[in-house]
Amino acid sequence: MGKLILLLLNLIVLYNIVAAVFEDQVGKFDWRQQYVGKVRFSHFDTHMQSSKKVLLATESNVFAAINTRTGDLFWRHVDKTGPEGNIDAVLHHGQDAVLVVGNGRVLRSWDISVGGLNWEIVLDSGSFRSACLVGQQGTVKHAAVLKKSVISLHYLSNGHQKWVENLPESETVNYQAVHSDGNGQVYALGVVSHSHIAVVAYSAEDGEIIKQVSVEAPWLSNIPASCAVVGQGMLTCVDSTTMSIYTLDLYQQLQMIQIPLQSLGLEVDPGFQPHLVSHQPHPARQPLSEFLLQLGPDHHLLLQLNNGQIVILRDFKPALLVSFATTGEKTVAAVMSPKNKTACGINLFSAESGRRLLDTTLIFTVDPNAGKPERLHVQAFLKKDDSVGYRVMVQSEDHALTFIQQPGRVMWTREEALSDVVTMEMVDLPLTGTQAELEGEFGKKADGLMSMVLKRLSSQLIMLQTWVAHLWKLFYDARKPRSQVKNDVSIENLSRDEFNLQKMMVMVTSSGKLFGIDSKTGSILWKHYLDNIPSNAAFNLMVQRTTAHFPHPPQCTLLIKDKDSGLAALHVFNPIFGRKSQVAPPALSQPILQSLLLPLMDQDYAKVLLLVDDQYKVSAFPSTKNVLQQLQETAASIFFYLVDSSQGRLSGYRLRTDLSTEQVWEVVIPVEVQNIVSVKGKRPNEHVHSQGRVMGDRSVLYKYLNPSLLAVVTESTDLHQERSFIGILLIDGVTGRIIHEAVQRKARGPVHVVHSENWVVYEYWSTKSRRNEFSVIELYEGMELYNSTVFSSLDRPHAPQVLQQSYIFPSSISTMEATLTEKGITSRHLLIGLPSGGILSLPKMFLDPRRPEIVSEQSREENLIPYAPELIIRTEWFINYNQTVSRVRGIYTAPSGLESTCLVVAYGLDIYQTRVYPSKQFDVLKDDYDYMLISSVLFALFFATMISKRLAEVKLLNRAWR
C-alpha cells in the first residue's frame, strides 16, 4: 500500500517545477549571517563623539563598518579574493578612509558614514611598501604612498597625484617606511640589510629632496618590525642581538645613539624578538614621546624619550596585550593582564605619566572554548566629568571579536571564524525522552530476554527522570512571571521536531574552531576551539553515530591532518553538545593518507572508521574485538581507492583479514599532460527510489546505479586556448575498470562536478566559443536488468549505455551541489552558487541527455523538454531571493523527515540556510492553508445534516398522518 502511495506521489512529482518564495515567507525558513573575516586593521570612528562605527579591514579582503552597540554590519564591501584584492593599508581621517588595495595597485577612498566610494585611482606599478597621511599646519590634505622605487603624494579630496618622485638608489636600498609629522616634510626610510639606513626627506609641497642621508646600522634588517618614530622625529629601534635601543634624529641625522637595555635595567626574554609601538594621535602632529616596548610574551614597558634619554614610566608584567588610544587631548595606554585562568583584567594608564587611572578596571572573561586574546582595539571617550572612559574590542586567536564595556559587560561577539567554513555536517537532534524510549525499544536487534528487560527498565528509568525534570521545570517556571520565561533555543531544550526539519549544523572552520549551529534560527549553540591547528590543515568530518541510538550519545569524529608533516590527529566529540567524547581516539604515529567510514557498526552502534597510513596499513577506530572480528569477516568485500594528484596516480586496494592491504588496480594519468583536479564518488546517504526511466512506449530504461562509481576530472597542463582540454573519467572504484571516458577539447577549468544517481553533471569554460558550458552524462543499463537483487562490481559483463548532452550557461559558477531527499522520490535539482551571490535551483530535468532535438509522440509522452542549447536563468529559481551570499564556497544539502523538503546550507563569506522543495510541497498542507474556513464549513455541514435529519423525520411523520 505504501508503495502505491509512493507511486502516486511519484506521478504527482513528475509534473511539478519549483516555485519562488512568497513575500510573507521571507525569513520564515531561511536565515543569513554575514561575516567579514579575520581583522587586519581596525579604526574606531572618532570623527564624532557619538559615532557608533568601527571600521574593519580584513584578511578576506573585506572592508566593513560595524555598529559598536549591536555588532551588526552598517555596510560591507567585498573585494576580489586573493592578492588582487588584498588590503595593504588603511588610512583613516575624518569622514574618509583611504585604502591601498592589491599590493599598491589601487587607491580608494570611502565615505565611512554611508559606505559610498569617494574616488578610486589606479597607481603606477610597483610593489607596495608603506603609506601614511601627510598633514601641514594642523590640517591633513594628502596621503603618501611608498612603493619599491617611487613615492607619490595624493590629494585626499579627489585622489589626484600631487607629485611623484623616484627614490634614489632604489636598486640597493630597500625602502620600507614612510613618515610625516606635520612639518612639511615626508621621510622615506629605507634599509640596506646589515649595512645602513637611508633617510630621504621630501618637501611635501613639490616633492623636492631636501635631505638625503645614510646612517650606519649593521644590525638592522627590517624597519617596521623593530623601529618606530617617537616624539620629535626620533627614529627609535630595538635590536635583540646587541640588546640595545638605538635612536636617530630624523631632523639632524647625525648618527645613531646606542642605549644598551642593560643600562636601563632591562632584559629581553630569550628567543623573543622585541617590539616597539609608538603612537601618533594626529597625522599633522608629532608622535608622542612615550612609546611601548615589548620584551617578552607577557612583558611590556611604557617608556619616554626625553632629550635623547630614555625614562621608564611603568613596567607592565605580566601584561598580555597593550594598546594606545586617544580621545581629545588625552592619550591612554590600555593594558590587559591575566587575573586567573578564566579572566583577564584591563586597566587604563595615562600615557604621559604612566599613572593608573582610577575606576578603569574592566574584566574580560576568557571562554575556555575560545582562543586566547590576540589584539586589543581600544575606543576611548571623554566622559561628562572629563575623565576617560573606554570600551575594548578584543580579537582572539579564533578570529572572534568581543566588544566589552566597563565593568566587563560583553556587548556583542562576532564569530569571524565562520567566514571560512571548511566542511560541515548536519546531525539530527535527539528525540525527547518519550520518543527516544520508543526508538530505543523497537529500533534495536533483540539480544536475549534478560538484556531486553534490563534495557527496558533502564530506558524507562531515564524516561521517568526526564518527566520529573520536566515537571520540576514547569513548577519552577510557573512561579516566575511570564515575561521572564525564555522560550528560545538552548542546548537543554533541543529536541527533534515532528518532521526533522530542525537539525544541528556542525561546522569546521579553518581556524580550528568548531561550531554547533541550530539550523532553524542560526544561533550558535556551542563552540569549541582546537588550539595547535596547523595553518594548512586538511579536515575530514565524519558522523560515526547518529542520534538514533539512544541512550548512546551521538558521536562525530574530525580528522585533522597537517599537510606538511603528514601527521594526523582525531578529535572525537558529541555533535549536539560540542563536548569532547570520553572515547579516547587512538594516537596516530604514522602519516595518514585517507579515512574511510564503513557501514559496519560496533556493539555500541558506532560506525567503524578505517584510517589508511602511508604504509598502506589500516587501523580501525573503534578497534574493539567485536569490530576486528567483523572486519575479518567482511574484509574481502572492503575496497578503497587513493588518488595522488601530484603523481597522477589512482590506485585501488583491497583489505586483507590481517588489516594489511593489497593493490588491486592502478591507473596512471601522465602529469605532464593532465592533472587530476577532483574525484567525486556518490554520497553514501543517497537513496534512489526509481530504478529506471519509463519510456514513451512504456518500456523501462534501467539506470546504471553503480554505488562505487567515481567521476575523475582532469585538466590539461597546457593552457593554450587551442590545445587546452578537460577530461572526465568514470572509473569503477572496486575494479578500476574505466566505464567511460570523455574529453572536452578547447575547454578549460575550473570544473565543477556533481555526481549522483546515474548521472554526472559538470561545468567548464569553453575557450573556443568563450562561454560557460554544462555537460551531462547519464548511464543506463538498457532495457533489461543484469541482476536486480545485488550489485557487484566484480560481476558486470555488460558496459552501460552512455548518453551525453551539453548546454550553454549564461553565467560562471562558484559551486554546485544536488538536492537530496529522504527516499529519493522527489525530483532532483541542481543548486548552483553564482559569483553574483545568488543560489540557483536548476531542475535536473533541463540537464537530460534524452532531450530530443525533434519532438516525437513518444518524447512528449515521456515529458521530455525539446533540446535547446541555452539554459535560461529564471529569476524565480533563485532560492535566496535578495539575500546575496558572498563568495559561496560550498553548498551542503541534507534530507529532512519530509520527502518533499531538502535542507540547504550555502557557506562562504556568509552563511545562508534555507529549505527547498524540488517538487513543491506535495506532502504538507500549504502555509496559507485556511484551517478556519475548512473547519467552519465542516461544522456547518455537520449541523446542517443534523437539522435536516430532524426536519426530514418530522416531515415524514406529518406525511404519514395525512
Binding site: L593, V643, V679, G692, L705
Partner: protein
C-alpha cells in the same frame, strides 16, 4: 413503524371521515361494510357479500401447450440478454475514446461491473431458467455472453492503458539492489 395509517388493523381503516361526520384522526371499524362511508365507496348499496365471495373472476389455471413455448422463449431472452448488449457496448466504447477522463472511466467501470455482477448472481439466473428444458444450454450462452462482456471491458482497459502489462508498471516495486562491496577513499589528504 407503528403508524396508524398501516394496514395492520383487523378491519378496514379509514382516515377520511364523511362530510357530515366530524373529522376524526382515526377510526377502527370492526364490522365490514357497515358504515355509510364504506357504502359510498363501494357504491353497492346495502349488498353484503358472504364470506369467501370474490368479485373477480377466477382465471383458468390449466396448463396449455402454448405456455410452455412462451417460457422457453422467455428463458432464451434471459440467456441472450448479455450477448445482445455487446454491439451497444462496442458502440459506446468507440464513442468514448481512449483518453483517460472521468466519463470513459465511468463507462469502462460500468461495462466491467455489469458482467461481473451477472456472473456472481449466476445461481439466481439458473433458478429462473429452471423451468426450461434447455436449461444448461441457456446457462452456457448466458455465461459466454457475460464473459464476452467482461473481455470487452478488459480490452477497453487495455486500449486505454489501464492494465499493468508493461514492465514500467512494476518499476516502483523493484527494490534497490543490495551492494556487495564496500568502497571509499578519496584524494590523499
Amino acid at each position: 413503524m407503528a403508524s396508524p395509517g398501516g394496514q395492520g388493523g383487523a378491519g378496514a381503516l379509514s382516515t377520511r371521515g364523511g362530510s357530515g361526520v366530524r373529522r376524526m384522526k382515526w377510526t377502527l371499524e370492526l364490522s365490514l361494510g357497515n358504515t355509510r362511508s364504506r357504502d359510498r365507496q363501494s357504491g353497492q348499496g346495502d349488498v353484503v357479500y358472504p364470506i369467501g365471495y370474490s368479485e373477480k373472476p377466477v382465471p383458468d389455471t390449466s396448463i396449455q401447450e402454448t405456455d410452455k413455448n412462451l417460457v422457453e422463449k422467455r428463458c432464451w431472452d434471459v440467456a441472450l440478454g448479455p450477448l445482445k448488449q455487446i454491439p451497444m457496448n462496442l458502440f459506446i466504447m468507440y464513442m468514448s475514446g481512449n483518453t483517460i477522463s472521468i466519463f470513459p472511466i465511468m463507462m469502462v467501470c460500468m461495462m466491467a461491473w455489469r458482467p461481473i455482477q451477472a456472473l456472481m448472481s449466476m445461481s439466481a439466473t439458473f433458478k429462473l431458467l429452471e423451468s426450461s428444458s434447455q436449461q444448461w444450454l441457456q446457462g452456457l450462452v448466458y455465461l459466454i455472453g457475460n464473459l464476452l462482456g467482461a473481455a470487452l471491458a478488459i480490452y477497453k482497459c487495455q486500449s486505454m492503458g489501464l492494465l499493468p502489462t508493461h514492465s514500467s508498471d512494476w518499476l516502483a516495486f523493484i527494490e534497490p539492489p543490495q551492494r556487495m562491496e564496500i568502497m571509499g577513499g578519496g584524494m590523499v589528504l
